[in-house]
């Protein structure tokens, strides 16, 4: 095990006059004037957002414009600060192509005053329906304004490419007599 004691060399006479350090300190700061700027003029300039950023949670639709959430309430369960409230509902009768999905959220509220952007909801979602996307600054005048309802969540979320079309696959499988 290598323990290294830190040396403390006594100051030279020149250093004890404070002057060399003041000069070298000024020289250091002077050099920095000519280095590139490290700050951004927010909000005119915005920082680049890396992929996988955890911004405001949103609900997404699949490329066919259908809602992906099946209101299994797993995100509501896992949410550490209990920011999510879901009221499950039936699939509306006019959406016959989704009848086999069985359920959809009637109401889906995320209280952004409670949300801590931890991303657990996205992590546990078995439908890839909830995503934390790029938006990071939000504000409002009232508490009610800070609760994102279902419409707002879909508006924020937009559409995300789907790799699996899970429910379509299930439907085809069921039509071929394979219920698994």
């Amino acid at each position: 095990m290598a323990v290294i004691p830190l040396e403390r060399k006594p100051l030279t006479f020149a250093e004890r006059t404070y002057l060399p350090q003041i000069a070298s300190g000024l020289w250091t700061t002077f050099k920095r004037i000519f280095q590139p700027q490290v700050t951004l003029s927010y909000p005119e300039q915005r920082p680049a957002i890396p992929p996988g950023y955890r911004g405001v949670p949103t609900l997404v639709r699949d490329p066919n414009g259908r809602e992906k959430c099946v209101s299994c309430q797993l995100c509501e369960f896992v949410c550490p600060p209990k920011a999510i409230r879901i009221t499950p509902g039936e699939i509306p009768a006019d959406q016959a192509d989704r009848a086999h999905v069985e359920k959809a959220p009637q109401a889906f509220d995320i209280d952004m005053l409670r949300c801590i952007y931890c991303g657990l909801c996205q992590e546990v979602c078995p439908e890839e329906a909830i995503f934390l996307q790029n938006q990071y600054s939000l504000s409002g005048y009232t508490r009610e304004e800070m609760v994102n309802h279902k419409d707002k969540l879909y508006e924020l979320g937009g559409t995300i490419p789907d790799q699996h079309y899970k429910w379509d696959q299930k439907k085809t499988a069921a039509e071929h007599g394979n219920t698994h």
Binding site: A2, R8, L11, G25, P50, C118, G119, P126
Partner: protein, 410 residues
């Protein structure tokens, strides 16, 4: 009637002075919202002139009951709360917590996961020490140091953002693995950061190390002897500043720290200046560890694949297979399944030894979770070290302790 003064100096002089100059002891509250108390620490001080005769730290202004909260949620749900302990090094807290629970389950995570955890913990150490150094700089009147430290810290936060998706509250570790694998090219960015960081660190330290103004404020101030440091349970740079070479990364290696070569810097005197020197050197050692870890960055899995009741299956499996879907539901709702038992694990965090004592009666929820926070134990020496100091020295002492109230009050 002659008055007796515990700390003569100014008050005794005043006693010999004409009656109108004679003073009595004054009690003064410093904090909870005082810029140099680094958070919501309140010092109840008794003053004899400008000299402290008593100093009582008053804690609890940031108490959130994290230990009780932990009993009401599954192991994974508590990870975001560990971010908020020492909020200047959330990645190190995440790792310490995950390893504690993994020890309970006797689970070994793959080498790649361990390496990622080491890199993130050391980056967190650098970022925390930068903040500590900058704040100490401000406390002693060196504003430039703070700005330069923040410039470097910002680069680190960019790296954290790329890795975890969040700058500050990372919530990166999971029981048995991580939130996600490292993105492509991230280790290269880490290396690039390390390369440019060392000369800048020398520049920053050069502003302070031989600076007489800074030394006047820190040398021989707040001296903690070796025996006191051990007796009061100090850990981390504050303990090493007093000359005790205890570093859990060396003494009880975890997460593969035994593979890396690094030195443990210790101070000689135990004053504020030593604690500053130790932090400066520790950053260099951290960079050394990071470079080694990146150089031999192992491939393979980044989570424990065999622990099917602890770590949730990958997303594409959940979406396509019924079995994995049910498994995912079970892990989320019941929690990662742990055996009954208890475990105590301490990790060498930037602020000292962060310990988690987990008691489990089986299932996915801890029965009791005790957090041993280094800042809390480090502050216990304040009543001893501050007595006899000037008020302006107290600011210096607090700065050199580098504590975080989020962790202290938890």
């Amino acid at each position: 009637m002659a008055t007796e003064f515990a700390f003569p100096d100014s008050a005794a002089k005043a006693a010999g002075a004409p009656p109108e100059f004679q003073t009595e002891k004054m009690s003064l509250s410093m904090g909870p919202s005082h810029p140099s108390t680094h958070g919501v620490l309140r010092l109840q001080m008794e003053l004899d002139g400008e000299i402290l005769t008593k100093c009582d730290p008053v804690l609890g202004y940031l108490h959130r009951g994290d230990e009780k909260i932990a009993e009401n949620m599954t192991y994974n749900q508590f990870v975001p709360y560990t971010d908020r302990l020492d909020y200047l090094a959330p990645l190190a807290n995440n790792m310490a917590y995950a390893i504690a629970v993994e020890r309970l389950a006797k689970l070994e995570v793959p080498a790649r996961c361990q390496a990622i955890r080491v890199i993130t913990a050391e980056l967190a150490r650098v970022s925390s020490h930068l903040m500590g150094l900058g704040a100490f700089g401000i406390d002693t009147g060196a504003w430039t140091v703070f700005m330069y430290c923040f410039t470097e810290r910002e680069k680190l936060y960019k790296l954290f953002e790329e890795l975890t998706g969040a700058r500050f509250t990372t919530s990166y570790a999971r029981i048995g693995g991580l939130q996600r694998d490292v993105p492509e090219g991230w280790t290269k960015n880490v290396n690039a950061f390390c390369d440019q960081f060392l000369p800048i660190l020398d520049e920053i330290l050069g502003l302070l190390t031989r600076n007489k103004i800074f030394m006047d404020r820190s040398v021989d101030i707040g001296v903690i002897s070796k025996a006191d440091a051990i007796a009061y349970g100090l850990t981390g740079p504050n303990l090493r500043g007093s000359g005790v070479g205890l570093d859990l990364r060396k003494d009880k290696p975890y997460s593969g720290y035994e593979q890396y070569e690094f030195d443990v810097p210790v101070g000689t005197k135990g004053d504020c200046y030593d604690r500053y020197l130790v932090r400066g050197e520790e950053m260099k050692q951290s960079v050394r560890i990071i470079k080694q870890a990146v150089a031999k960055f192992p491939g393979g899995d980044w989570y424990a694949k065999d622990a099917r009741k602890i770590f949730a299956p990958p997303k594409d499996k959940i979406l396509t297979s019924m079995e994995e879907l049910i498994q995912n539901f079970m892990i989320v709702t019941e929690g990662p399944q742990m055996p009954a038992g208890e475990v105590y694990f301490e990790a060498e965090n930037p602020k000292g030894a962060l310990g988690f004592y987990v008691v489990s009666k089986g299932g996915g929820v801890p029965w009791r979770l005790k957090i041993r926070s280094p800042s809390f134990c480090n502050l216990s020496i304040l009543p001893k070290v501050c007595v006899g100091a000037l008020i302006s020295d107290v600011v210096s002492i607090l700065g050199s302790f580098d504590f975080v109230m989020g962790e202290c009050d938890r």
